[in-house]
């Protein structure tokens, strides 16, 4: 074979991988679309698709139906959009950490950042007596400060994945103790309030939450796209990465900041919904079967998991609305079991 043919073969392989990535994304988008439509349709008052569409376009067409519009535009749409955005954010936060720390078990809800947001939120609710927006801001700051603390504590001539993971686990334990402590000092109803926030729920979704989270993502996603190329080198180990000309420390820090940003904003909006961040990356990579790193797909998977979990949480039990965090927790458990069972074949948690 001539060199040109060889080169052509390489190009073909590359294009095949890219097309696999595209088709996976397309499939996910379709599933997402279906789930979204379902979210707008289902409920105590199932609203037929035509009416949904009419409501969606009512600001433009002027054809309004007060009650239907309210349900669609003020209740279901914000909730579905928030599920989408927060799921995508969690998914991205998770896969960035898992890729940087080279370990699928290392996601922000396990290595302490979610705990930081939780501890801050519980503090705001129980000690400061704050509600809603103020608590969200508190949670956000908690996540950022905890991430900063973890990074600084893990820094010693640079940051290794090993140290970040373990320091994060130590932090998580300490923050969990702080939360437990606050729980013993408060009145039962305050504790219940805090617990409700801790489990993570989309019940109180408002358009404003969507706008804030959406705005944050508008900033963070381009940053991520700019930084992601560095991963091509960093995935090969620091030495090889430097040999290829990547500025490892700076790229790593940048990516961590973006990941923390995603996690913090999403947590502030919906609470520390567990396992979406944990599950999205591995699922995305599984679907891609080695044809890509999986970042866009992880965002889509995260959005899908969040949306579907919320649908299940709302409609599974007849009279009860479960918080979405419970369903994602169950998903997490199933996922870990699946990880266990698929051990022999290609399972590598390292």
């Amino acid at each position: 074979m001539s060199m040109a043919t060889y080169a052509g073969r390489i190009r073909t392989l590359r294009h095949a991988a890219a097309s696999r990535r595209r088709s996976t994304s397309l499939a996910l988008l379709t599933a997402l679309g279906a789930a979204f439509a379902l979210a707008l349709y289902l409920g105590d008052y199932p609203i037929p698709p035509l009416a949904v569409v009419q409501s969606l376009f009512s600001p433009l067409t002027g054809l309004t139906d007060r009650s239907v519009d309210f349900i669609v535009l003020q209740v279901r749409l914000p909730r579905a959009v928030l599920a989408l955005l927060s799921g995508a954010s969690f998914g991205l936060a998770g896969i960035i950490f898992q890729t940087l720390l080279r370990n699928p078990l290392a996601s922000p809800d396990i290595i302490g950042i979610a705990h930081g947001a939780s501890a801050a939120a519980v503090f705001c609710i129980i000690i400061l007596g704050w509600t809603a927006l103020a608590v969200s801001v508190g949670a956000f700051l908690g996540a950022i400060l905890t991430a900063l603390a973890i990074y600084l504590l893990a820094w010693r001539d640079g940051v290794t994945a090993f140290r970040v993971v373990l320091i994060g686990i130590g932090m998580a334990a300490m923050l969990a103790a702080a939360i437990s402590y606050l729980f013993t000092r408060a009145r039962l109803n305050e504790v219940q309030q805090a617990m409700a926030w801790l489990v993570g729920s989309l019940n109180a979704a408002r358009p404003e939450d969507c706008i804030v989270l959406g705005g944050a993502m508008l900033v963070l996603v381009p940053l991520l796209i700019g930084l992601v190329r560095g991963l091509d080198a960093m995935e090969l180990g620091d030495d090889t990465a430097r040999a290829l000309g990547a500025t490892v420390e700076r790229s790593r820090l940048g990516l961590m900041l973006v990941a923390v940003g995603f996690a913090a904003f999403a947590t502030a909006a919906v609470g520390p919904v567990g396992f979406v961040a944990f599950v999205s990356g591995p699922l995305a990579r599984y679907l891609l079967k080695g044809t890509g790193r999986g970042f866009p797909q992880a965002a889509l998977v995260g959005a899908l998991v969040m949306l579907v979990s919320d649908l299940i949480a709302q409609h599974m039990l007849p009279a009860v609305q479960l918080p979405v965090g419970v369903v994602t927790g169950a998903c997490g458990a199933l996922f870990l079991l699946w990880l266990l069972m698929s051990s022999g074949r290609s399972g590598r948690i390292n």
Binding site: A4, A7, R11, E235, G237, T240, R285, G290, R348
Partner: protein, 284 residues
Amino acid sequence: MIPAMSNKHQLLAAGLDLAYGDRQIVTGLSLTVPPGKLTVIVGANASGKSTLLRGLARLLTPTRGAVYLDGKPIHQMPTREVATLLGVLPQTPIAPDAIAVTDLVGRGRYPHQGWFRRWTTEDDAAVAEALNATDTADLAGRAVDELSGGQRQRVWIAMALAQDTQLLLLDEPTTYLDINHQVEVLDLLTDLVRQRGRTVVVVLHDLNLACRYADHIVAMKSGHIVAEGSPGDVMTEAVVADVFGMPSRIVRDPVSDTPMVVPIGRHHAGSLEGQAKRGVAVTY
């Protein structure tokens, strides 16, 4: 085939001190890497050979002295620029899960790409050539973690080749390879030097392969260079005894006409000398 270019790039170390934390590994080392030649660094374990290579490769900042690339201190040059001139294959590279061979080798093109200049035919050609040269073309679509140790090592070398740099530094690239693949890799590196005018520096464990292939040998001990020069000059019984603490016999390699080190362990110490004294011809 890319025509041979005369290699104008000069890599040298001057008064180099290299340390990990407070553990001093290399002290006051000066070395000029002969351009357009294959240089092999040998030495016992913990003699500092890998550390020296990492220092030359800009992976370790010297505590004193400096490494110069074309007269400029390498640590002051932008990383990207260095990566287009100098390629390194470290000892234990890490491959992400389930990455395909073409993908991994393609990563070698990283320094030549940018935000806007992505995959060009040149890149594909470089990858294809690298795969071809390391005899891994038939592994192209497979996942790296499914390959055997030797195959994986060759894929890594392909990645370093795809980087297409004038200078190439490799840290023990032949460790997990069968003898035939070891020789293949060293033949390949020799091709790079002779046919494409590259400068290659390799750390090797095997003294005899080092003697066969090296244009220039650097023998290290305890962070210092004990001897350097052509294999014929450097590889003497005295140097082997100094560097490895082991008596040996240097004979002529019948295949390559270079020195061949025949180690003398405890169990053979008597017999050889005895037979030599008795004037018996020792043949195998």
